[in-house]
């Protein structure tokens, strides 16, 4: 079987296997799997509200998935998407509450630019440390995550704090808010999804059609060969981290400008880490990542409906866990598929 087909088949088969295993678990806890999956589908696509919810959840996941996926392609393991997302959103929120006098046409790109540059700069710290001192980016990005988390929590309980209740920053100006594509009750679906898809296309072009993309990939494949070929390893590591961080910062921007309209204490909600699993399921391919993010987004949205019929939310975490396990250990899936073919 050719490589491209395999790249699509492995995740798809993994999802099917995961659903099969979950069926058994649902039976074991004494519920009807058909009802459960029915609720899952109804909860994620069954109504306008459900669809809006799914899209809202998918948007940041695409972007953090792209962030981590781009890093993987360039040979860096960016665990810091979480921190980059938080920092991007936090700093953008600080500026964006004062952009009231700017027209949206200027304010929106400016806010996005701030979030992306902050994300890029924050990730570049880890890239720089790796290039200069050899400090592994896994360690440094994790450390940077904590700094970002605590800094953000300090800011929203201290200097940026407004009102009582949930720790939060002031609302960003109306002109910085992304246009709403669909509104159902209290739920607003913004144009963030369009931004996410554009980002995926951008990443595809960057990786496959440009010199920069070629160099970054070359360093990822084999830094020694790349250096021998005249490509600066250090420069490209920093660049790869920066682009990855910019995408994570963009995820922060869409959450800020399209969903919450302010920085909340738990704005990221672990989506930076979800990016790792999504990049894995999507096989680091921009199009694959869109589908993977959509899958996880839909599962999570549907899980809330599933709770109504008594299946705990943890069921979708189980599904997600099995998918990731199988995709990561793709040998297992390949072996199963090849065996099947031989038997036939």
């Amino acid at each position: 079987m050719n490589k491209k087909v395999m790249a699509i088949l492995v995740p798809v088969v993994s999802v099917l296997i995961a659903l099969a295993i979950s069926t058994v678990i649902i039976l074991l806890i004494g519920k009807n799997p058909i009802d459960a999956y029915g609720a899952l589908i109804k909860g994620s696509f069954g109504s306008k509200q459900a669809i809006a919810d799914t899209v809202i959840k998918t948007t940041p996941l695409i972007l953090t998935g792209l962030a981590v996926g781009f890093g993987f392609r360039a040979g860096v393991f960016n665990i810091g998407a979480e921190g980059q997302m938080v920092m991007g959103a936090l700093i953008a929120a600080t500026f964006a509450s004062n952009f009231g006098s700017l027209p949206p046409l200027l304010a929106i790109p400016l806010t996005i630019l701030i979030a992306m540059s902050v994300g890029a700069g924050y990730a570049a710290i880890a890239g720089f440390l790796k290039a200069k001192t050899g400090a592994h980016e896994v360690v440094t990005t994790i450390m940077l995550n904590w700094i970002a988390t605590y800094f953000a929590s300090y800011m929203v309980t201290g200097p940026l704090k407004v009102g009582s209740g949930t720790p939060k920053s002031p609302e960003i100006s109306d002109s910085c808010q992304l246009p709403v594509l669909m509104k159902v009750g209290a739920i607003e679906m913004s144009a963030g999804i369009i931004i996410a898809i554009i980002a995926a296309i951008f990443m595809y072009i960057l990786l496959n059609k440009t010199t920069t993309g070629y160099e970054v990939k070359a360093v990822g494949f084999n830094p020694y060969a790349a250096e021998y070929g005249g490509i600066s390893v250090g420069k490209n590591i920093v660049l790869a981290m920066a682009i990855s961080g910019a995408l994570a910062g963009l995820a922060g921007a869409t959450e800020l400008m399209g969903v919450h309209h302010r920085f909340l204490g738990e704005l990221s909600g672990g989506k930076g880490f979800d990016g790792i699993s999504i990049a894995l399921i999507g096989q680091n391919n921009p199009i694959g990542i869109i589908f993977a993010a959509f899958l996880i987004g839909a599962l999570r949205t549907g899980s809330n409906e599933m709770q109504f019929i008594g299946v705990p939310k943890h069921m979708v975490m189980i599904i997600q866990g099995i998918v990731i396990f199988l995709v990561a250990a793709d040998r297992i899936v390949r072996t199963i598929m090849i065996r099947k073919r031989v038997e036939k």
Partner: protein, 365 residues
Amino acid sequence: MKKVLIVLLAVLFVVSAFSFKAIMVTDTGGLGDKSFNDGTWAGIQRAVKELGVEAKVIQSYEQADYISNLSKAAEEVQKEPDGGIVYAVGFMMTDALFQVAQQYPDVYFAGIDIAPPSEAVPPNVITFLFKEQESAFLVGYLAAATTRVGKVGFIGGIPIPPVERFRYGFETGVKVYNDLHGTNVTIIKGYTNHFSDPKKGKDLALSQFAEGVDIIFHASGACGNGVIEAAKEKMIALVGSEDLSKVIEYAFEKGGYFAMGVDVDQDYMAPGVVLASAMKGVDTASYMGVMWAYNGEWTPGVHTLGLAENGVRMSPMKYTKGLVSNRTLAELEYLVTMIKGGTLVVPDTEESLNSFRTPKIEFPF
């Protein structure tokens, strides 16, 4: 046979004809937190048993779920012929609750630990707050009466208002004891800046023990599990056994290291080592909310529950009562009646704590 069938059908009809639904939406902590999510659910379960309402729970995965889960719950309630009530649990859900409640004016909403962000509360919303300071006052007084070294500790989670109210009460309790008994018990304070990392609680507790305190009161959510573990470890090292009777015997003779629990009765988590717990009746609150909505006794607005309303109290000290003198127990009893009667007001802000003067208290014994 036919009769039985008819009776069964009639019962079925009666049961199905009435359906009032209570749906609880947890915060990201979810069920199993041994604190307010579990407490609220316990209260709703009580309503299920006593009032025959139907109950469901939706657990939130992330903060972005709050609005959509509350909306979903409200829509589910709207489908019921007799309506129902939606619960938002935890102060992190404040904004989401009020946003969604506006969209569904015909659905009852209740918030636990939630203070309305503005003065105007929509008529379909009630929120419950607690006078944490009153139960903390009692454990503070008890701590001051029990310490053998004249030094007690306080460990808070993130300094949000409910945590701070626990601290104000604890400090006041110690102060009142000092003033009445001419002692000079001091307090060491610290925060974990976290609610869900027991390791942080344990580290901070061990360092406070090293600084010489022998009793630590925590108001730090799951971090407190670490505080209790630290006290237990230190105590077992002293006693040389985990056996309850040996621990109590040792503690009675020579004192030792103790923790004090919060929110629910945590005494069982380390029998003999957890001296008492400052309890907060989230279960009472959630039961009351369902009952009001169900009986049509709905009074919108903020409900603040203290000792007088049975909203907070000190744990009954199932294991440790023998360590405390009868006189102290009687004093505590008397102070409870004073607080209930309003003659002793425990401060609930930093300012009122600073300006607090112990009133003239004469025990009638």
